[in-house]
Each structure stands twice: as C-alpha cells, then as structure tokens.
Symmetry: C2
Subunit: 248 residues, 2 copies
C-alpha cells in the first residue's frame, strides 16, 4: 500500500457545524415542480453540484453515471411531449376524485427550469463482471440513484430547486437523447433557482398523502420482529424535531 493509500482522514475532518448543516440541508430538500425562475445556473455552482454527484458511492467504484445537460429548447420540447403522453395515461389509472386531484397537480418543470439533467447508468462501463454486482445486478442502478440524491442535496445547499420527472417512458427518453442500448436513463431532473421552497413536501401540503410515523417502520431482527421501546421514544422525538425542520 502506498503512503497516499494509507492516509486517513484527520480527527478534525468534520465539525458540529457540518453535522447540523447536513441535517438542515436534508430536511429542507424538496421535489420542486412549479416554482422555477429563468435565471441560468452559474457554471461554478453547476460544477460543484455535479461533483457532489460524482462523489457518490458506487458498486466496485464503477462510477457508472453520465450527466447529460439538456439546454436545447427543441430537445426539451420533445421530452415535454413524452411527459404529456405518459401523464395522460397515468391520470387515467386513478379513479374519480383521486383523478381530479391528480390532474390538478403540476408534476414537472421541464420547460420552466433553466436546465434539465438526465443522469444515466452505463451498465457495461467496466465490463460484465463488477465487484459487488455479481449477485444483485441492479447495484449499478442503485449507485446512480445515490449520485442523484447527492446532486439533489447539493442543489438545495446551493439554494437551487430540483424536481425528478418520473412520469415518462424510458424508451422514449432513450430515443430522444440517443442513448445506447446498454445505458439506462435513471433520472430526468429539472434544476434551477426557485421563487420559494415549500415548508413541507408538496404532496403532503396538497393532501395527497401524509408522512408516516417512523416508529411504525423500524423493528428488530426480522420483518415481524419486535420493537425496542427506548429506541421508539427516541425515534418519535427525532421525527418531531424533523417536522420543525431541525435535528439536533
């Protein structure tokens, strides 16, 4: 092992301010669809955000991602059309009042945001055998999602809003962006300055679905395993704090 390889992070790698900063960014992150402003994203800010994505974990250090920055109005128009077709199909799957609510929701900012980013996964980046992907073949897709979440958090830390457009056909997106067969478009994102961020997730604020109690989602040693009472009290306390936008 080289001297560089042996190097470890110093004890002062992180501070209490960093810890609080991480939680504050996590809790204020939103899926943004409707509050985009036209201001362009400065190159230095975009570079930091994409670097945050690139420093995500990846299976076998595979780094399977690419970032296609979609600025062209023509390309975005085709993506918007693909969204609209998928969204009409999606709306028809909901019944009655639920469909009315669905149709009232704004679910993308493709043309409004100053920038769209498609984050892709090249499943053949390092050949067919990947350390850590031998038994769970979706691990490279999961790695790419970690990059998306890093990107999302960095955007929020920079004061930018981001929305993930998932109501779209993958084959349509692949055709529009000219992706090779082996490349999966994992996430199509809208990024930009926003007029404001919601205090709560938009789907919760608009009554679509409520936040679950974390205590109901944690158990011990197996799917039907017991609860830990002392931990459950801490979970409830932490969730209360998170609802106030803070986790100390």
């Amino acid at each position: 092992m080289t001297e560089q390889a042996a190097a470890i992070q110093g004890d002062d790698a992180l501070t209490e301010a960093d810890r609080q900063g991480l939680y504050r960014v996590l809790l204020s992150r939103r899926d943004v669809r409707g509050q985009f402003m036209p201001d362009p994203v400065p190159d230095d800010v975009l570079a930091r955000i994409l670097t945050a994505a690139h420093y995500a974990p990846s299976v076998g250090f595979m780094q399977p991602w690419n970032f296609i920055l979609v600025r062209s109005p023509e390309v975005r128009g085709r993506v918007k059309a693909a969204f609209q077709q998928a969204n009409d199909e999606a709306a028809a799957m909901f019944d009655g009042e639920r469909q009315a609510v669905y149709r009232s929701l704004k679910l993308e900012g493709i043309m409004d945001a100053p920038l769209n980013i498609c984050v892709t996964c090249d499943r053949d980046r390092v050949g067919p055998v990947v350390l850590g992907r031998t038994h769970i073949p979706t691990m490279d897709l999961y790695s790419t999602v970690c990059a998306v979440e890093n990107l999302w958090l960095a955007a929020r830390a920079e004061g930018l809003g981001l929305g993930w457009v998932s109501i779209i056909s993958e084959p349509a997106l692949k055709e529009i962006l000219g992706l090779p067969e082996r490349v999966v478009p994992v996430a199509y994102l809208c990024l930009g300055k926003v007029s404001h961020f919601y205090a709560k997730p938009e789907l919760a604020a608009k009554g679509w679905r409520r936040r679950l109690d974390l205590t109901d989602l944690v158990c011990l040693d197996g799917w039907d395993g017991p609860k830990d009472g002392a931990l459950a009290r801490e979970l409830a306390r932490a969730q209360d704090a998170a609802e106030d936008g803070t986790l100390i």
Copy 2:
C-alpha cells in the same frame, strides 16, 4: 390549500455553513468494511440517522421503506454465511491476478459492526397505482436507495462508518429476514463507530479502480452531444478541490 400547506421556508432556511457542511460530509463519506469498533450506537444517534433516511424523497410520497435493525448474533451469522457463499461464487468470476486481489479485499463487516440494518422496499405499500411510478416501475426501489444515501450521509455526519454489503443473494436474505414476497431487501448495511476513515475510497487506495475525470462524463443535449469548454474548466477545478476534501 390550508395555511400550513401554503407555508414556505424562510430565506434563512440555510446558511453558508450549512452549504459547506453538506459538501464536507459528502466528500468524507466512505464505504467501510474493516475498521468497525464494538461500541454500541446510542439510541438518540440512531434515531437521527433513521430520521434522515425517512426524510428522503419518495415517488408519490410513497415512503416504501422499512428498517430492520439486525442485532441478533444468530441472524447475523446466517447473513454472514450467505455472504460467504456468494463471495466464493463472485471470486471465481475474476481471472488470475484480479482474483487474487479480489480475495485479499475485506468486503463486509457483518459480525464486526455493532449494528446491521436492512433497508427494504414494500412495493405494495400504497396499492398498485402510484403517482410517478406508472411508467418507471423501479421508482420505488430508487426512492429506497435515496433513503439509504441519506442514512449513509447522516451516519458520516455523526462520526459513524457504514458499509453496504451487496455480495449476497436476495432470496437468501429474504428468507433469513422473513420478508414477504412483495418486499425487496434493497440494502444490507453495517453501521458503527470506526477506528478511522480512509482519506480516499478504499478500492481506489488499494488500486482496484481510479476516480474518473468528471469532464469526461458531462455533455450537452444528448449522449454524443458536445462539451461546454467553460463548464469543463469549472468541472476540473471542482474535482481538484474535491480531491483535497473541500468544495468551496
């Protein structure tokens, strides 16, 4: 819309210290396999980390995740055995010198870490039709991965190491943990205090694979699209900064 629903985050929701904290945590996060200490994870710390996961984005606000905390030595022993079988199969897929290097790597901390966590995805949590999952059926799995990445970052912010064990058969893991058919074990994690963190990713430090140049991974408007020269310079600058552990 209720008054609460209309509420927006204040202008002071995030500070410059928060922005820097997010990047510092992102860049110091590591996939830990070999440096675990036996100290238990305190309940209040664990509650914050799980809350960070629970505040991840999810398609249609579905929150499909559960967190199974695996403390039982007996259950962990069965998981370790399933890892060992998969790892022997995996090693055989690599040739010659690469296989020797593979066999020299420590790839899990199942018994060493004080706590294991299986993060699962309940694909039927809200019924068959999910807002945003109508056209990309894997969106709920992707949401669960976002929760994993949040959990990972929060752990690092709390000074804890985390490793993702992906060399294991999903059916074996489902059987050991008693997961219903509809529930996918997305990530099996080892969490705990560590003696130290590597300064660079372990697989890079040990010569398995190097970090790619971000400039090679970013292009405009399509897979074979052009580069933006000014942005490329900023990307190279940001990656240089990240290699030094900072992004200002």
